[in-house]
């Protein structure tokens, strides 16, 4: 037990040294992220929520946040005058990938995107953004014509305090740009394609000859994890139909889907790339392009 415990402390300390500063943010409480805003009064100290009681604040939505390794929520309300109010919620997740993931689950595909934090979007009464390991939601009530300006100002001040450079998860850069539909990139933490054994997938939608096709890039913890997921999916498919292999790409019908288009799947290092597409050559070209980018980014050899 003593050896295990020592190894734990060493591993955690080493891991922390490898984590970029933007992923760490302020230690302990997140109080210093909440700015003073001219003309606004903070109602109280931050309300804090942990994974165990997040549902008390956001009810059933908590489950989704928890699936993205949610760690802590700090929330502060501001008031100005009798009715005007602002709420700033800062969700801290395990890392950049998880914060982007929960942000990507909630952002609209078409929206008023803003350069706050790493990326954000504004809609009446709402401005949400992600930055580093944080997902920030600013909500305003009775702001009238000042709505966008006020939310932008508040969100901007929070983003300044979070610090660090705007960075998207690196694997997203491996999706080829041609045909990609803007703002469809997302990260799915769990239960990819409805299978409990598939996890940690980046995805993006493509417009291919007028049809929307979703391309998946599953990231295993390591090559063994990726192989397990790959074998699990191929194995499941193989129980109910043929699996054709060509140039390392496995083509098969997903047994629990009736889309009519086969899955094209290939494993490369700790990544598994796939898309549903009848055109085998085109599917292969897409997979090749992604793997080329993975190599260029040194994410695979």
């Amino acid at each position: 037990m003593r050896v295990k415990t020592t190894l734990f402390w060493t591993a955690v300390a080493a891991a922390l040294c490898l984590v970029p500063p933007t992923a760490l943010g302020a230690p302990g409480g997140m109080t210093e992220f909440f700015p003073d805003l001219d003309g606004w009064t903070k109602e109280d100290d931050p309300e804090l929520y942990s994974p165990d009681n997040l549902f008390e604040y956001i009810d059933g939505a908590a489950d989704v946040y928890l699936s993205y390794a949610f760690e802590e929520l700090a929330m502060v309300s501001y008031v100005s005058g009798e009715k005007r109010s602002l709420t700033v919620e800062i969700y801290r997740h395990r890392d950049l990938r998880d914060a982007f993931g929960i942000y990507s689950q909630e952002r609209p595909q078409k929206g008023n995107f803003v350069a706050i934090g790493t990326e954000g979007y504004y809609d009446k009464g709402v401005l949400n953004f992600f930055h580093g390991r944080y997902y920030v939601k600013v909500t305003g009530f009775y702001l009238g014509e000042d709505d966008e300006r006020t939310l932008t100002k508040a969100a901007g001040e929070v983003a300044k305090r979070l610090g660090g450079e705007p960075v998207f998860p690196e694997a997203l850069a491996c999706f080829p740009p041609e045909g990609k539909i803007a703002h469809t990139e997302c990260f799915l933490a769990l239960d990819v394609l409805g299978y409990g054994f598939l996890h940690s997938a980046y995805a993006a939608d493509y417009d291919i000859d007028g049809s929307t096709t979703r391309v998946f890039l599953i990231e295993g913890k390591d090559e063994s994890d990726a192989q397990k997921m790959f074998d699990g999916y191929v194995g499941l498919a193989g129980k109910s139909g043929p699996v054709v292999v060509e140039n390392g790409i496995y083509r098969f019908d997903d047994p629990l889907r009736s889309s009519g288009e086969p899955m094209n799947l290939r494993i490369a290092g700790r990544f598994v790339c796939g898309l549903f597409m009848s055109d085998a050559a085109r599917a292969g070209a897409t997979i090749e392009a992604i793997e080329k980018n993975l190599r260029a980014h040194r994410l695979i050899e």
């Binding site: 922390l16 165990d52 409805g194």
Partner: protein
């Protein structure tokens, strides 16, 4: 923990047709919730149960799953519950939910599975912030803050937060080591003395290791 109060307020208002309430086998006040549900049903309100899967795992490390079918059956065995909204994100979970629709009888084996927490002595990691430990220590140890520091270290793996939180407690010489049997009783069953002893070692982790 205020579901009974809210349900009764909904009944008294006369303005609601349906109540959506958290209800599961792990609620410490499940008996009270059931009484309120009974009253609501008698008053003609529909009852939809949510949070039926009770966190899905016994432990916060998410290593020991709860028997999901049993958890859902436990809720539906209450005839005053008209439906439930367990949700699912995988085909497997969907099949479990559908199977309960076919047969919602809670078997003796399943009932035993729901007592696994007591059998295995499993406890969660995260403090509930109930503050019941405050004032229990005869030496005035700042327990909530130290347990919070423990949570940062062991739950979130955030050493920086753990150390800063530990220092907030302002206790460099903890009396725990020389103390006899710890009188602190935690409603969640945490071994408070052990946790404080474990996290106290963070004082010895040099700041150089913490970025």
């Amino acid at each position: 923990m205020n579901e009974p109060e809210v349900i009764r307020a909904a009944i008294a208002s006369g303005a609601y047709n349906v109540v959506l309430t958290a209800y599961n086998f792990r609620q410490p006040h499940a008996a009270e919730v059931e009484k309120a549900i009974d009253e609501a049903a008698k008053a003609g309100l529909g009852i939809i149960a949510m949070k039926t899967q009770a966190g899905v795992y016994w432990d916060s490390e998410r290593q020991h799953p709860i028997n999901m079918k049993a958890a859902l059956k436990w809720v539906l065995r209450n005839e005053n519950v008209h439906t439930a909204v367990p949700g699912f994100t995988t085909f497997e979970q969907m099949e479990i939910d559908l199977s309960v629709m076919e047969d919602s009888t809670l078997t003796p084996a399943e009932e035993l599975d729901l007592k696994e927490d007591q059998q295995m002595g499993r406890r969660g990691l995260y403090c509930d912030h109930c503050s019941k430990c405050t004032g229990q220590c005869p030496h005035g140890v700042e327990i909530p803050t130290l347990v919070r520091s423990y949570m940062y270290a062991y739950g979130y793996r955030n050493l920086a937060a753990a150390k800063e939180t530990f220092e907030l407690a302002g206790m460099t010489d903890l009396p725990c080591a020389g103390c006899g049997e710890c009188p602190v009783e935690c409603p969640m069953g945490f071994d408070v003395k052990k946790r404080i002893g474990d996290i106290a070692r963070i004082q010895n982790v040099a700041d150089d290791f913490i970025v």
